[in-house]
């Protein structure tokens, strides 16, 4: 089965490594990501104002166009996923808003797309036990921390991604690849998000706590599903080091990069040049390359 795919802006720029590895792995897993023929920015945050109609238009337009091309839509970026899934849900459930939106964008979209995160595709449609069988190079001995962040999970009632307080889907995925997933209390805490623009010290502090908690619990690498989180916990490690001199850098992966390694992809194709902390020394030490 092929999936309609909404990459989102970041996956075309700062997170090409996320996009490319996902596309390559899909082929190896027997499905294709069919990029939507037309798409725009998702809006980047789900509008929270009562009068949110204007802000709902971009994701609604993406959904309506996607519906003309298929019935299952998948995304990788946790923020896009949050915006698109929630907009879809709103169109499904709120008749008045649905009519207004449809009138404005001149479509007739009913909210009947199935919106899945790539991890959900792997879990629900492929199955982690199947995935495990397809692994060429098990990530044995690699201790990882599955960092969910907020957007995959919250608000719990709308996202329905996994258990609200102690999710385990991401860990199950990593274990299927042969890695060890350590438990750490900060796994669903906020990365600081857009605070990194206005009050960077707030975001740095968030990232510092997340990373030190993961390291303290034995992680050698942290795994992310979100370019926003990755920016804060990977690219901002330089800022953390300026403030906390004893902080040791820790590699951050997109989950698709680890999937790629386990599928036997060559490290040149995994886009590590976009990772702020070079993960290759760790991967070599573990004997994966």
């Amino acid at each position: 089965m092929d999936y309609l795919y909404f990459p989102g802006c970041t996956l075309y720029t700062k997170a090409k490594n996320f996009d490319q590895t996902a596309r390559n792995c899909s082929k190896l897993l027997g499905f294709e990501l069919k990029e939507l023929s037309k798409w725009t920015c998702c809006g980047a945050t789900f509008p929270l104002a009562t009068d949110n109609l204007m802000a709902l238009l971009p994701p609604a337009r993406i959904l309506a166009n996607a519906r003309e091309e298929g019935n299952v839509l998948t995304t990788l970026c946790a923020v896009c996923f949050n915006v698109i899934k929630r907009t879809n849900r709103l169109i499904q459930g709120d008749g008045e808003k649905r009519d207004k939106i449809n009138n404005y964008i001149e479509k007739n979209y009913a909210g009947d797309l199935r919106v899945l995160h790539y991890l959900e595709v792997l879990k629900q449609d492929i199955g982690f036990s199947q995935l495990k069988e397809k692994v060429q190079k098990p990530l044995a001995g690699l201790k990882t921390a599955a960092y969910y962040g907020c957007m995959l999970l919250r608000p719990f009632s709308e996202m329905g991604f996994d258990d609200k307080e102690r999710p385990s889907l991401f860990e199950e995925f990593l274990e299927a690849l042969g890695a060890k997933a350590v438990d750490f209390p900060y796994k669903i805490e906020c990365c600081g998000s857009f605070q990194s623009v206005g009050s960077p010290e707030v975001a740095t502090e968030c990232a510092y706590k997340i990373l030190t908690s993961a390291i303290k619990n034995g992680a050698e690498a942290v795994v992310s599903t979100c370019p926003m989180c990755t920016f804060n916990i990977d690219h901002k490690q330089a800022d953390i080091r300026q403030k906390y001199l004893d902080f040791k850098p820790v590699p951050i992966f997109y989950f698709t990069q680890l999937l790629g390694i386990s599928m036997g992809l060559d490290h040149q194709t995994l886009g590590f040049e976009q990772n702020a902390i070079d993960p290759l020394p760790l991967l070599r030490e573990k004997g994966f390359f």
């Binding site: 258990d163 609200k164 307080e165 102690r166 209390p185």
Partner: protein, 449 residues
């Protein structure tokens, strides 16, 4: 087994006048049920007291000390349970459950299941040898999973009646077909493994349902670790820790490693007043008992620090506000107004993240133990009992009185009354007053006929 466990003065039913049976049944042997039974017995009416557990006393028997006087719960309760057990007008049917109710005021017929105790209570002398020697040790429900209990047990050394029962789910003989230690040791041959449940019928003129409450299980609270963090306990567990008859003989020692906790966080409103996720109502007793817990903790661990996270402090009751103030001012309990968002284990510590909404700051406490004041709920099967009695229970399962203000113990069914926490959360004083009222309503009903 012979027909009944507790052969207290099997008095003849009070003669029915015009066919109206002036004999009452009380369902539930907690402090409310006991109070109502004693009232009715003293008024000269025969009472059948049905209790699900092997002995009477209810939740109060689990408590260590009670607010606002800090007197020992067992010391105040035991005279009452003994009085109930010895009362010539009260017939105890413990380890029994009401299965079916038919008829009307003055003539109810109640079918009761007497659960197999696997011990002949008439022969048993209550010597306790079987409990001493039973090799099966498992976490005890009465001690909230902290102490070890035997497969043949009474709820407490002062149990009324002081007769043990065997839990087949824990007994080696029932599970593995081997053991029979209690049978071999029993000096009077009272152990009967082949005993079966028995059914008895009782004819009564009025019924008081006083089945009490339960606590919301800790496993429901994901943000507080789903009950998986060993040093996060609930209020009743703290009562057991502080109780001289509890698993630590009254020393405050945390479950994971038995160390004396030096920093304890108490969290009020866990599951209460949270309409979006849990229970919308106020559980009424938590503000007081949490204040009490913190004070009792300070009395035993002088260099310890107690923190209480609260939303509001509801201390409406005689002497209650003074009790809380004393804790704050004289015993140095730190009250933090705000909720706790997460609890997790970090090494030997239990980390608590919360907010202090008065300073607007985030608070992180690296504690040794956390006590959750979990919401009071009805008994899990209260709706079934309500259906059997033909009375109304609300959406949660609390029994509904026929009129909120003026008829607080009557139900829509004549002759059936409610008392205690089965109607809604109450403290002991209120539960007893409610039970006294229910008993007096029964007397008025009987006096009319």
């Amino acid at each position: 087994m012979s027909q009944s466990f507790n052969e207290t003065e099997q008095a003849e039913p009070t003669p029915a006048q015009n066919g109206f049976v002036k004999r009452a049944m009380v369902i539930g042997g907690g402090i409310a049920g006991i109070s109502a039974s004693i009232d009715l017995g003293n008024a000269g009416h025969e009472v059948v007291l049905v209790e699900r557990l092997p002995s009477i006393g209810g939740r109060m028997l689990q408590l260590s000390e009670t607010f606002p006087t800090l007197d020992c719960a067992q010391c105040t309760l035991t005279p009452k349970t003994v009085e109930t057990g010895q009362h010539p007008k009260i017939r105890l049917l413990t380890y029994s459950e009401v299965e079916e109710v038919s008829g009307k005021a003055g003539d109810f017929l109640v079918r009761i299941r007497r659960k197999a105790a696997y011990v002949d209570w008439q022969m048993c002398t209550g010597c306790g040898l079987c409990q001493q020697k039973c090799p099966s040790k498992q976490p005890s429900d009465f001690d909230r999973g902290m102490g070890l209990g035997k497969a043949i047990y009474t709820l407490s050394p002062q149990a009324v009646p002081n007769k043990p029962v065997i839990d087949p789910a824990r007994c080696r003989y029932f599970k593995e077909g081997k053991c029979r230690v209690c049978e071999k040791l029993c000096p009077v041959g009272a152990i009967h493994y082949e005993q079966k449940d028995q059914y008895v019928e009782e004819r009564v003129g009025a019924i008081i349902a006083a089945v009490g409450f339960d606590l919301m299980p800790q496993e429901r609270f994901g943000e507080y670790g789903y009950g998986k963090v060993p040093d996060v306990i609930d209020g009743l567990a703290f009562e057991r820790l502080n109780s001289a008859s509890g698993p630590t003989t009254g020393e405050i020692r945390r479950p994971s490693d038995g160390k004396v906790p030096k920093e304890v966080v108490f969290i009020q409103c866990t599951g209460s007043r949270d309409p979006e996720r849990y229970m919308p109502y106020c559980s009424r007793v938590c503000c007081m008992y949490t204040g009490k817990h913190a004070r009792l903790y300070k009395h035993k661990v002088h260099d310890g620090q107690a923190y209480i996270f609260y939303m509001d402090i509801r201390s409406a009751g005689k002497g209650y506000e003074e009790f809380i103030q004393q804790g704050m001012e004289e015993e140095g309990i730190l009250y933090l107004r705000g909720r706790v968002s997460r609890i997790f284990r970090d090494g030997e510590k239990v980390v608590v993240w919360g907010a202090d909404t008065l300073t607007g700051k985030k608070v992180e406490v690296s504690a040794d133990m956390v006590v959750l004041a979990t919401a009071l709920t009805p008994q899990r099967d209260s709706k079934d009992l309500a259906a059997r009695l033909g009375i109304v229970a609300d959406e949660h399962g609390f029994f509904t009185e026929v009129e909120r203000k003026l008829r607080p113990v009557e139900t829509a069914v004549e002759g059936i009354y409610i008392a205690g926490c089965a109607q809604g959360p109450k403290d002991i004083a209120d539960a007893v007053a409610h039970a006294n009222a229910a008993a007096s309503k029964v007397q008025s009903l009987f006096a009319k006929h």
